[in-house]
Amino acid sequence: MKQTLLQKVWDNHAVRTLSTGQTQLFIGLHLIHEVTSPQAFDMLRARGGTVAFPNRTFATVDHIVPTLNQRRPFLDVLAEEMMSALEQNCRQYGIPLYDIDNANQGIVHVIGPELGLTQPGMTIACGDSHTSTHGAFGAIAFGIGTSQVRDVLASQCLAMEPLKCRRITVNGQLRPGVYAKDVILDIIRRLGVKGGSGYAYEYGGDAFDRMTMEERMTVCNMSIEGAARVGYVNPDETTFRYLEGRAFAPQGSSFAKAREWWASLASDAGATYDDVVVMDAGAIEPTVTWGINPGQSVGVTENLPSPSDAPSEDRASVAEALEFMSFRGGMPIAGTKIDVAFIGSCTNGRISDLREAARLIKGQQVAKHVRALVVPGSQSVRKIAEQEGLDKIFTAAGFEWRGAGCSMCLAMNPDQLHGREICASSSNRNFKGRQGSPTGRTLLMSPAMVAAAAVAGEVVDVRTVLRTEEVHA
């Protein structure tokens, strides 16, 4: 029978059908961090349990780490307490930890792929909704809560309901100035923030075939923003080339065997899907969110919707979002003044994101009224960027160059918006209060668009900047 990758990976990891009818699913890779794991270890201890497969769990610190002064103990005593708890738990149970002073530290969804821990055909779970990122490798990867972290620690398994599969085919070529971030923002805009509920999204088509692994990660990362807990791309030569030689990837003759197995897991031609969506890459514009969920977005040349333009069930949401943002329906998004520019996060804090942003701001200056920061997704990204001199380009332009972490994506560290500030952000969520100030406002966009906005001091179409660049070249 023709099968999707989802079915093959699911079947390979199904331990048994539970009395509830749910599937007991083995988890091949478990990633933990300081925010959602301490209570799970406490629950485990309270039951006298232990960690079943300590070599299949890896830990790092990302959510609460400061990006300026990383000296221990942290100035924030609560953050320091969480760090200590994770360190103690990892020591007690023999779990490898990439701590703040380790060269492998970084955002959990950045370091998993970097280290080659993330591989095709795995099931991957982490107490973080952006675990869908790892689906870029053809893994079935999803976020879980703390009680489920406890379940994985105790048994390396989860009780799961089956997922349906929606194929999203994006054909054609992205136009200059349009990035992977725009692809996923456009998908969410079209299918809605609850459109993916119950589904895994399988992304394909020649636009995806041409994407680098980092671009695929950006798309898979935000699957959850469209309510798809899982998003994946079938593994191909791009995937295998990325993995070869990475620390935890199979080495030598094992790599050839692994590669053969990985290739066999890709969805079969003619596999059946519960739903199919086909899109045209050439029709996607640089996209910017204007509201309070990631589906509330427009192309940068478009105007904001009015409540009266929206379908009746969305009117209240549109009105609420416009009010929170202090925007009017019908106004253009381009020209919106910004206060802060943030480049980073598990969505867009990788080296290719930093390279593209640096290329755009080289020799330019951040607008006087804008506070701009670049937060590499990992220490490794930071190191590569410094070797390439990107840090100097950023700092010369007026960006702050920081240490690795989640930073202003969710603002659990000192990197926060103040008051009603508007932030052009390469992160993944524009929820009310997301960036640390309850009344702060977030405009999600690609890192290139953030760079362009930082220089202009307002939202601009990055394509106009790219055109100027061509003229100068």
């Binding site: 331990v15 009395s19 976020g143 105790a154 009780a159 199979p250 009310k432 997301r434 640390g436």
Partner: protein, 201 residues
């Protein structure tokens, strides 16, 4: 009654209107800076409550009319966004025992199952009708049954749904899955050893 078995839940309701209420709103990230879940209930919807108050309005979770309510009534895509279990933990510690709504984010739903706090899906119209009824009479008793997939309010019975797996987990008292998952550990080892990436290709 054995608290493991979750089926009939009775109590007063609390209506919370709006679609796509994300977990950052239920419990803002700054309150996640703790190694326990203790005290989260004090901060449930903290920013939403404050912002409404500044405008002279009252959030349901600040409204004395709904004090002691046990059943939360929401609209679509409740609990979207972050996977933080702190969100259902905050609501449970506040006193909520079940949530009724048009739809729920999957991760939020799963986290609630793991806490023994059922989420029942009803039609969009019924969710709004329940919110109207509770606003009109906060003392109205709501009774829901996970097993029968029903909600009773003002003498009328409405159809609700809970997916079969979660329904069985609640009514059979196996929503805390750890024990169940360890029941057949030999089989777990067998599946693990058959995976090429575990056995080393």
């Amino acid at each position: 009654m054995d608290p493991r078995f979750v089926d009939t839940i009775t109590g007063r309701g609390i209506p919370l209107r709006g679609h796509d209420i994300d977990t950052d709103r239920i419990i803002p990230a700054r309150f996640l800076k703790s190694v326990t879940f203790n005290g989260l209930e004090a901060h449930a919807f903290e920013d939403d409550r404050k912002q409404l108050e500044e405008r002279g309005q009252v959030h349901a979770f600040s409204n004395p009319r709904y004090e002691g309510a046990r059943i939360l009534i929401v609209n679509g895509n409740f609990g979207c966004g972050s996977s933080r279990e702190h969100a259902p933990q905050a609501l449970q510690r506040w006193g909520i025992r079940a949530v009724i709504g048009e739809s729920f984010s999957e991760i939020y739903f799963g986290n609630s199952v793991a806490l023994g706090m059922p989420c029942l899906v009803v039609s969009a119209g019924d969710a709004e009708a329940f919110q109207d009824a509770v606003e009109a009479d906060p003392k109205a008793a709501i009774s829901l049954s996970v097993g029968a997939q029903t909600v009773e309010l003002n003498g009328k019975t409405y159809q609700a749904s809970v997916p079969a797996g979660a329904r069985e987990a609640f009514t059979a008292g196996t929503w805390d899955a750890t024990g169940l998952l360890l029941d057949d550990f030999d089989q777990v080892r067998t599946v693990a050893n058959n995976l090429p990436y575990v056995s080393g290709f």
